[in-house]
Amino acid sequence: MTTNYKMLDDEVVEQIISEGIALLLDPGIRIQNQEGLQLLAEAGAQVNFETEVAKISEDLVRQSLETVPKTFHLYPVSGDDPMVQYGGDAIHFDPGSAGIMLLDDLEGNQRYPVTADYVKWVKLVEVLPQLDAQSTSMVSSDVTEEIGDLYRLYLSLNYMNKPIVTGAFRKDTWWTMKELLVAARGSEEALREKPLAIFDVCPSPPLTWSDLTCQNLIDCARAGIPSEMVSMPLAGATAPVTIAASIVQHTAESLSGIVLSQIVNPGAPIVWGGSPSAFDMRKGTTPMGAAETWLIDAGYVQVGKTLGMPTHVYMGMSDAKIVDVQCGFESMGGAMAAVMIGANMVSGAGMMDFENCLSFEKLILDTEIIDLARRFRRGIELRDDPIGENLIREMGHHADYLSSKHTRKWYRKELSLPTELIDRGSWDAWKEGGSTTATQRAHRKIQSLLDQYQPNALSKEQHDALREIALDAAVQFGMDSLPALED
């Protein structure tokens, strides 16, 4: 394992942290949630309930950093060994979250996803070994918006075994989502002991926690459900245009989230994550494929690691509208940066058109990117000592390494091979195979991957319980039934 690539000198990181801490005292953090303000006041922060601003002292920040866990795990539905480690050297990948569109064809047409698309996605993520977690990837358009968040989790729990990165769109639906998780895990205790899901909670730049996300953060902390802060400074729009200063803003927002979670429940698991972006000064958009976006990611991950925090990034995505060259190189660039900085969870596989659209083909192609990036990160391993002198002398001027025992001993460990998605054959073979693009090959692979899917370990009673919980919520918001589910 190579060491994490550092973009910033240690002294600069320390300065960023101290500037972030200073900002929590002046001007303070805006908390648009009464309970959050109350909790901070009780913990000793100076709170102005009218302006909704809390001024947090360095002591309170340091105290919170003492109790926050450095490492925790997510467990699969089966309850077996953990599949995700937040903290330490672990690097995991999961798909992008909450896409509102689905790429409908290879020509770049998009449509709103429905239940069947969502289920197909969950199954694909389940069978792709490069992905260690599910995410509540897309918003299904065939149910009412009010249950959009919990319906995603409901669908996932029916089909997934891998743990899931999720999030709530409302304060009240968080409770339904928790109920779903408890039903799948068996009890609140068991869920606390073996977390199955992590909730994204997003501060609003600059320096603000909205009513919703603050409440979600508090509720997660209280229930011992992990949360993942997704601070998203938009450099040049909602945050300073200078990359380093955007990282300062990210630091301040994230530290305030740690304080909130730790005063609710010392030891509550929480992740130093984000989805920052450079601002495109011509189009006014938020490019995920910009080098500056990756630099902010790299900087804040280094800050998080310096503080001993588990880390998360949204990387490996693209702003392209079609699975093309731009889509490929932006995704690869982000994924490579992510593995080199050593983020524990890298979210974004399958996502394009900023963070709007998901593509089955891109998801499958991204797993090849993940393999390449992981292999690169694994680095150059020393297998023999001397490294090569004796071997090369022995072999002399003959190139029969292909038949040497040394090759047989090491080649599987040293050399990785892509799947048939990646063309490393001759031109003739490519021509004979139908002159396909990688995207076409990915498209053709979808069905064979789906065929590998195995149902999860939940009992019929548990599936029924999940449906009852989701249906209750649906009825509450004016629906009389939920879309039927396939096996």
Partner: protein, 214 residues
């Protein structure tokens, strides 16, 4: 006992343990097992399993070559015994193989040679940088039925055409099939120069060789 040892030989090829292949072949010969039985029931099944595993993606090039080396090592013990019995392992075909003049690339050509041998062909490997005349002479000398011409450079692939023309001039073009290969060589080039066969890779070359000999 011998049945068990035969399947151990098969296994040694699958695992690429050439010392085991040699030791077990020795044991069987000492126990008076017929060399032909050792080939047909011990060695060939191993090569077939390795070939299958390569086709399904479980095995890779080193496994293939190492298995072929096992086969070759065993055949060195078996051939004198076959001669003693006035038997011959019926060869799938006699092949003259080499990398053309001006080109010193060896790996692809040797791979093809190794795999052809392992699949029952009698291979005369002329090595690299082989003059056109040498090919012609060797074909005449050995009565070869198949010529394999390797070229890795666009500047040397023209020599493949030259060898074919020389075979013609020597009046033996209709006695041999010619297959060509190498990185710049394509199917259309093969057709262009009047070769009989072309393959993408070493396994493909074995397939084509069999086809040309059938």
């Amino acid at each position: 006992m011998s049945q068990e040892t035969l399947s151990e030989i098969t296994q040694s090829i699958v695992l690429g343990e050439s010392e085991d292949t040699v030791r077990l072949t020795d044991e069987l010969l000492a126990a008076n097992v017929e060399p032909m039985t050792i080939i047909r029931e011990g060695l060939m099944p191993g090569m077939n399993i390795v070939g299958d595993k390569f086709a399904t993606g479980e095995y890779f090039l080193p496994d293939l070559i190492i298995a072929a080396d096992c086969m070759k090592a065993a055949m060195q013990l078996l051939e004198p015994e076959l001669v003693k019995r006035e038997q011959a392992f019926q060869s799938a075909g006699i092949v003259v193989l080499g990398t053309v003049k001006g080109d010193i690339h060896e790996i692809g050509k040797s791979l093809v040679g190794t795999l052809l041998s392992a699949n029952g062909f009698k291979v005369h490997d002329l090595g690299v940088d082989v003059k056109t005349d040498e090919f012609i002479e060797k074909v005449k000398e050995t009565g070869a039925e198949l010529v394999g011409l390797s070229a890795l450079l666009t500047t040397t692939m023209v020599k493949q055409r030259e060898v074919i023309q020389s075979l013609q001039e020597a009046g033996i073009r209709d006695k041999v099939k010619v297959m060509v290969g190498g990185a710049p060589v394509t199917k259309s080039w093969a057709e262009d120069i009047g070769a009989d066969g072309f393959a993408e890779d070493a396994m493909g070359a074995v397939k084509i060789a069999r086809l040309l000999m059938s």
